[in-house]
Every structure is written in structure tokens, then in C-alpha cells.
């Protein structure tokens, strides 16, 4: 078309931690259309999962994503437990909640830092990642590893935590909250950040529902839906209400994630207060047979696992649907009509995770 040009945005771009390409059809400085191209990170993990036995797959599923790895193993284990009729001990359910919220804390801190970096706000980026180290250290102290924490097993948790370690988590949550208090007002009030986020990438409540958005993208447009409302792990016993914003722009998505970061600290504290005594890993007998679906709330939104088994140790099929895949149609809608200079921040505002999307 005359007067139009196509700009390839990605797959290698400073704002994307992982390769995702957006072909931007431009008319001068305005984006007319964004065409996403996926497939740079495909590793064939779903096929590999059919060759290993169901207990080994826990470690494989953790490696679907490098940021929300715990949630993947949690979702997989829940599907298997449902299939095999295993009752997870209450203490294990609370430990899973604590680790899941620590995972959310590190993921949201990582994203806050990346967003600051996308503006060129280097000191804020470093401050966010400095706070993130508190969570990473807690992950290593409690499970032995920073990111791939391997805390889950089918039936419960692989490790139990001593009361002194639980107390230490509580103390470090105070440090983390103090650190977050230092950066939160900058995200909320800084005129530079507001200039780049307020009113950009707007998507309405009707559109997010129609396009099937999930997670903070959905909640920033005024829909109070969060998989934690299902009450899996120990969420049903904790005081939890989804963080909802109504603006539908990049600023609302930022505020939704900031709110969830504070909420995650609160959920860890609640879980630490209420954690019961008892065993964490019962003996698992039998082989899985049938099919099951499990859903959890990842930092980026709803994660779904479908598992089918035929009574053998190996599974017949493991299907993963990740939140970023659901958030790409809304992203394409957000980019229509925006300026080229706003594309990086809008593209980052869905917090895409390409490695789990393509597996």
C-alpha cells in the first residue's frame, strides 16, 4: 500500500527478554496493524514429557519457564494428584502457597525492573532488582536453588521448612516491603513514567473479555478474575481478593502488578501465620489413568495443564496453555493506532514470557 511501511520489531529487541517478533505495519509514526510471529523458542517439551515417567516430568515441567517455574510444576502436580486421587497434606499446601507467592514476587520485581529499564530509568531498574535478590536468596535458602527450585513432587512437597526458616522468611518480607515502599511512589507518581504509560495501549473491559485476556492484563481492565479464587493450594483458606484496576492502559497494568506485589507479601505472611504442622509428602502408589485439567494463577495469568494417562508410568499427553499466548491477541489490539515510540512500553506491559508460550 502506498505510504505504508513494515517495521520488524524483534525478535531481538532490548525490551524483550525473549524473542518475539511483531511486524508493525506503519503509516508514518502510527501503527496500523501488528502481526505477531512466534516460534523462536520451541523446544518440544510436550513431546519429551511423553517419554519420561510422571514423577520425572515434574522436573521437566519446571523447565518450561525460567521465571514462573514453580507454578508450572504446581499446576502439573495438581493435575496428577487429581488423576490419582491423592490428598495433599495441609502443610504441603501451605508450603506450595509460600513458594508460589515468592515466585510471583520475584517475577513481578523482575518485570518492574524491566519496565524501568525500557524507559531508560536505570537507577529504578537496579533498585527493583536489588529488592528481587531478597526473594532469590529466600528461594535458595529454602529449596537449594534460586530459580528452578524443585519444591514440588506429585503428592506434596519435597522439602519441609524448619520453624526458624519460616521466621526468617517473615523477617525478609519486612525488608522486601521496605524496599518496595521506596520504589512504589516512583512508579505511581513520577511524571516521566506517567507520560509514557497513562493513556497508552488502552484496551476496554469488553475487548479483554472478547479477546480472552488473562492475568493482570484482564484485571487492569476491570475484570475481577484470578485463578487463585478457585482456592487451590491454601488460597481457599487465606484472605484473598483480586487486585483490580479500571483504566485498561499501560499505567493500570503497572498498578495492578504493583498491587499484586504488595498482596503477595501479605499472602506469604498470612500463610506463615496459619501453616499447620504435619507431613509434607505422603507415599504415592498406583499409576495415573484418565484425564485431568488443572489451572493456577501464574504471575502473567491463568496457566492450564491437560494431562491424559492410560495406566502406564508414562503419560499419554501433556498439554500446556500459557498466559502469554492468551495475551497476544489483546496486545495486537492495544498496538493498533499507537505511536511507534510507545510500542516498546506497550509490548512490555503484557509481561510476555515466550519460552513457556512455545515450550
Amino acid at each position: 500500500m502506498p505510504g505504508q511501511s513494515v517495521i520488524p520489531f524483534g525478535p531481538q529487541h532490548p525490551v524483550f527478554p525473549e524473542p518475539l517478533q511483531l511486524r508493525l505495519v506503519m503509516k508514518e509514526e502510527r501503527v496500523l496493524e501488528a502481526v505477531p510471529a512466534l516460534g523462536y523458542m520451541h523446544r518440544g517439551l510436550e513431546k519429551l514429557a511423553e517419554t519420561k515417567d510422571y514423577a520425572q516430568n515434574v522436573f521437566l515441567m519446571e523447565r518450561v519457564c525460567g521465571i514462573c517455574s514453580f507454578m508450572h510444576s504446581l499446576c502439573y502436580c495438581q493435575a496428577l494428584e487429581d488423576l490419582m486421587g491423592i490428598e495433599v497434606p495441609p502443610r504441603a499446601r501451605y508450603l506450595r502457597t509460600i513458594w508460589a507467592e515468592l515466585g510471583r514476587l520475584q517475577s513481578h520485581h523482575l518485570w518492574l525492573g524491566l519496565l524501568a529499564d525500557a524507559f531508560g530509568f536505570e537507577s529504578l531498574f537496579m533498585e527493583c532488582w536489588k529488592n528481587r535478590e531478597i526473594v532469590m536468596d529466600l528461594c535458595e535458602a529454602t529449596t537449594g536453588n534460586r530459580v528452578i527450585i524443585s519444591g514440588n513432587a506429585v503428592g506434596g512437597c519435597r522439602r519441609d521448612l524448619e520453624p526458624s526458616v519460616l521466621k526468617e522468611i517473615g523477617r525478609r518480607m519486612d525488608d522486601l516491603e521496605r524496599g518496595l515502599d521506596r520504589v512504589a511512589p516512583v512508579f505511581q507518581d513520577d511524571p516521566l513514567i506517567k507520560q509514557r504509560t497513562v493513556g497508552t495501549g488502552i484496551i476496554t473491559r469488553e475487548e479483554v473479555i472478547r479477546l480472552g485476556a488473562v492475568g493482570p492484563v484482564l484485571r487492569a481492565s476491570g475484570v475481577a478474575q484470578d485463578m487463585r479464587q478457585l482456592g487451590y493450594a491454601a488460597y481457599g483458606e487465606l484472605d484473598f481478593r483480586p487486585v483490580v484496576e479500571t483504566g485498561g492502559d499501560s499505567y493500570s497494568r503497572l498498578m495492578a502488578r504493583l498491587g499484586e506485589t504488595y498482596q503477595a507479601i501479605d499472602l506469604v505472611r498470612q500463610a506463615l501465620r496459619r501453616i499447620p504442622e504435619g507431613e509434607v509428602l505422603p507415599k504415592v502408589k498406583g499409576r495415573p489413568e484418565g484425564e485431568a485439567v488443572s489451572r493456577v494463577e501464574q504471575p502473567r495469568g491463568e496457566l492450564l495443564y491437560y494431562v491424559r494417562a492410560t495406566g502406564k508410568p508414562q503419560l499419554d499427553r501433556v498439554r500446556v496453555r500459557t498466559p502469554t499466548l492468551s495475551n497476544i491477541p489483546p496486545l495486537v489490539r492495544m498496538l493498533e493506532g499507537c505511536r511507534l515510540s510507545d510500542v516498546p512500553v506497550i509490548a512490555l506491559s503484557i509481561d510476555s514470557c515466550v519460552s513457556c508460550t512455545e515450550r
Partner: protein, 123 residues
């Protein structure tokens, strides 16, 4: 005006504080007691049952009962610790320090000398 005071306050606080980062490698963080650093074999205890090989999610252990060898590919190992958990004779141990980088990818082979093991009736 209040922003200027806030900036001066942060500036003076930062001048009095040291850097937030460690001076690595001169200053190293203490290793957590529960860190999963590397897998090591305690070959004297091994009975070559092969449970570790069967349960390893990364397929990095090869046990050969006839030759009495226990073989680990440390570059394929994901240090999950399953082998340590399932070993019936505590012949595999988890160490907190990670393995040092090497320029060649050589697997680790441990060989047990034949002979009666201490405290065990053989045959």
C-alpha cells in the same frame, strides 16, 4: 521544592552507605547450607542397584553392575537431588559448592574395587 529536599536526603543517605553490590571475587556470599551445588558419589557404599539411574529425570547416571562402575555426566545433571533421596545405601551425596568450570566435557566414572564390604555378608 520538596523534590529537591527529597533528592538531597537520598543523596546524603547514599553517600554514607557503601555499595549495594559485593566486591566479587574478593568478597563472596556465604553458601546456604541447603544449596544444591553438585552431586558426589560415595562409591564405597554403592550396591549397584541402579535405582538412581532409573529415577534420574535427566538420564545422566549410568550404573554398570558387572564392571562395578557408577558414571555421572555432570554436564547433563540438573542437580535435582532425586538420586540422593532414592539411594538405599547413601552412596550419593549432595554438596553445597557447585562444580568448577572445566574446559573438557569428561564424565565422572567411579569404580569400586571388588572385595567384601565392611559390615556386610557377601555371597
Amino acid at each position: 521544592m520538596s523534590e529537591v529536599f527529597e533528592m538531597l536526603r537520598v543523596l546524603s543517605a547514599n553517600l554514607g552507605r557503601g555499595p549495594a553490590t559485593r566486591r566479587y571475587p574478593a568478597e563472596k556470599r556465604a553458601i546456604f547450607p541447603s544449596s544444591r551445588g553438585r552431586i558426589e558419589s560415595v562409591i564405597e557404599n554403592c550396591i549397584f542397584c541402579g535405582v538412581c539411574q532409573k529415577r534420574c529425570p535427566a538420564d545422566c547416571i549410568v550404573v554398570n553392575k558387572a564392571e562395578r562402575t557408577w558414571n555421572l555426566d555432570p554436564y547433563q545433571c540438573i542437580v535435582c537431588g532425586v538420586c540422593v533421596e532414592v539411594c538405599p545405601t547413601k552412596a550419593i551425596a549432595m554438596r553445597t559448592e557447585y562444580r568448577k568450570p572445566r574446559s573438557e566435557r569428561t564424565p565422572l566414572t567411579h569404580h569400586q574395587e571388588p572385595g567384601p564390604r565392611e559390615g556386610r555378608v557377601e555371597g
